[in-house]
């Protein structure tokens, strides 16, 4: 396959950035999208030019490191996959492909296609945990039975890989799907319920401080999420949040 690539190049966070055009040829349709970028980079290095920086690590769709807004869609045109699992057979010979970084005020560009998603870590640090020490002296794992459905739903929410596609794709740049997945996971489990009120309050507060936009329920995040995290989680978080706002005795 021969392709024309329009790639966002930006030297660092202070640079203005621009789209630049590159040609790659003889790309195997069986190679992955990132392997296609590897070929481009090899080519650029051999030409004495600076290769394109992009985030990636596990290349099997689980670490959440890869990103990329490809031809107007987060993680490209395929569904239920991350960019590293996207294969070139989804494109046609001669295609022009636009490759841009996630766009969000909360995800500033570090270089080229690499963005800073540490806002997610700060939201997690605000409440994305159960406050137990790792003593090993907790009660036996089977002491509290958990209904299978709850455990399964908690698991489904917990499969979020924190890639940020939801933010990237949301017209408002909202992080509700990400935050709600974590809030839901714990809200569904007895171990997490104990501090559910505090958790949802603190996580939402941090989310707002990070500069993410608001949820207007377009549902785009659910469609583009590579892990199929459900909108149900957002509703659950809203419910938890309302509950927290009404019953909380805290000043906040």
């Amino acid at each position: 396959m021969n392709l024309t690539l329009k790639i966002w190049r930006q030297k660092n966070k202070n640079d203005k950035g621009r789209l630049e055009t590159y040609q790659v040829s003889n790309i195997s349709p069986d190679s992955s999208f990132l392997e296609m970028l590897d070929v481009l980079n090899e080519q650029l290095i051999n030409e004495g030019k600076e290769p394109v920086a992009f985030d990636h690590d596990c290349r099997e769709g689980i670490c959440g490191m890869c990103s990329l807004y490809i031809n107007g869609e987060a993680h490209g045109p395929d569904r239920g996959v991350t960019t590293c699992q996207l294969h070139m057979r989804k494109f046609k010979d001669g295609d022009t492909i636009y490759i841009e970084p996630w766009r969000s005020a909360a995800f500033p560009v570090i270089k080229d296609l690499v963005v800073d998603r540490s806002a997610f870590d700060r939201i997690m640090a605000a409440g994305g945990f159960v406050s137990v020490n790792t003593s090993g002296n907790t009660q036996d794992a089977n002491n509290i039975p958990i209904p299978k459905d709850d455990a399964d739903k908690a698991f489904d929410a917990a499969t979020c890989i924190g890639c940020g596609a939801c933010v990237a794709t949301c017209k408002n740049g909202s992080a509700m799907l990400f935050v709600s997945a974590k809030v839901s996971q714990f809200a569904l489990l007895p171990q997490g319920k104990v501090e559910a009120t505090r958790r949802v309050h603190n996580m939402v507060k941090q989310m707002d401080e990070e500069g993410f936009g608001n949820c207007s329920n377009t549902g785009a995040c659910e469609v583009e999420c590579p892990k199929g995290i459900s909108l149900e989680n957002i509703a659950r978080m809203n419910r938890e949040y309302l509950k927290a706002s009404i019953i909380s005795e805290d000043e906040e």
Partner: protein, 203 residues
């Protein structure tokens, strides 16, 4: 947005009931009486204030959220395909809302302002005024277009409000969605049918 929105939906239903009285073949007696009650009842006056506050809150909140949302993405995508993952109307609530707001202003200046602030001339009735307006083709078109936008606005808004309030259950989600769509449809059809009926039967 959800609470004020749902409150406004309730008002719309009530308003639709009132408007349907226009169709009662009694020369406008029922409608005039209804309108009169609307202005004389103290309870209604309180609700009216709440209604204005509701609209105001809905608009102010929408503006605030829109500004925040714009700020959340300072650099736009060069290529974006939002249609691949969401409907046009769900993404353009601000636009449809603005159109509706413009209509509300026109609407209020025509009726509410005249009726409540200036007062009617001796032989004028509110019924007469309405029938007169609906004989104007342009007015009918504006009216209908506004309500079509309102319909799409509501179609997204009602289910969205439930989602925002966390009222969500896999079993009942389809019912909520369908009920929302049905309400949006009834309100749109109900409101647009009246001017059409008047325009074509009384013109």
């Amino acid at each position: 947005m959800a609470l004020t929105g749902l409150f406004l939906v309730v008002f719309l239903l009530e308003h639709l009931y009132g408007n349907l009285l226009l169709l009662k073949p009694d020369g406008g007696a029922a409608f005039n009486e209804y309108s009169h009650n609307m202005t004389s009842n103290v309870f209604i006056r309180i609700v009216e204030i709440l209604l204005f506050l509701g609209i105001l809150a809905h608009v102010v909140n929408a503006l605030r959220l829109t500004i925040e949302n714009k700020k959340a993405r300072p650099v736009k995508y060069a290529v974006n395909k939002p249609a691949a993952n969401s409907s046009w109307f769900s993404r353009n609530m601000g636009l449809t809302g603005s159109i509706i707001l413009v209509f509300i202003v026109i609407h209020l200046s025509d009726y509410f302002f005249e009726y409540r602030v200036e007062g009617l001339d001796g032989d004028e009735t509110i019924y007469g005024e309405v029938i007169e307006s609906f004989k104007n083709l342009w007015y009918v078109i504006i009216y209908i277009v506004a309500f079509i936008f309102l319909g799409f606005h509501l179609n997204h808004a009602i289910q969205s409000a439930f989602q925002t309030l966390g009222i969500n259950h896999p079993k009942y989600n389809p019912i909520i969605k369908k009920t929302g769509a049905a309400l949006a449809f009834i309100i749109t059809i109900g409101f647009t049918f009246i001017p059409l009926y008047i325009y074509f039967t009384m013109h």
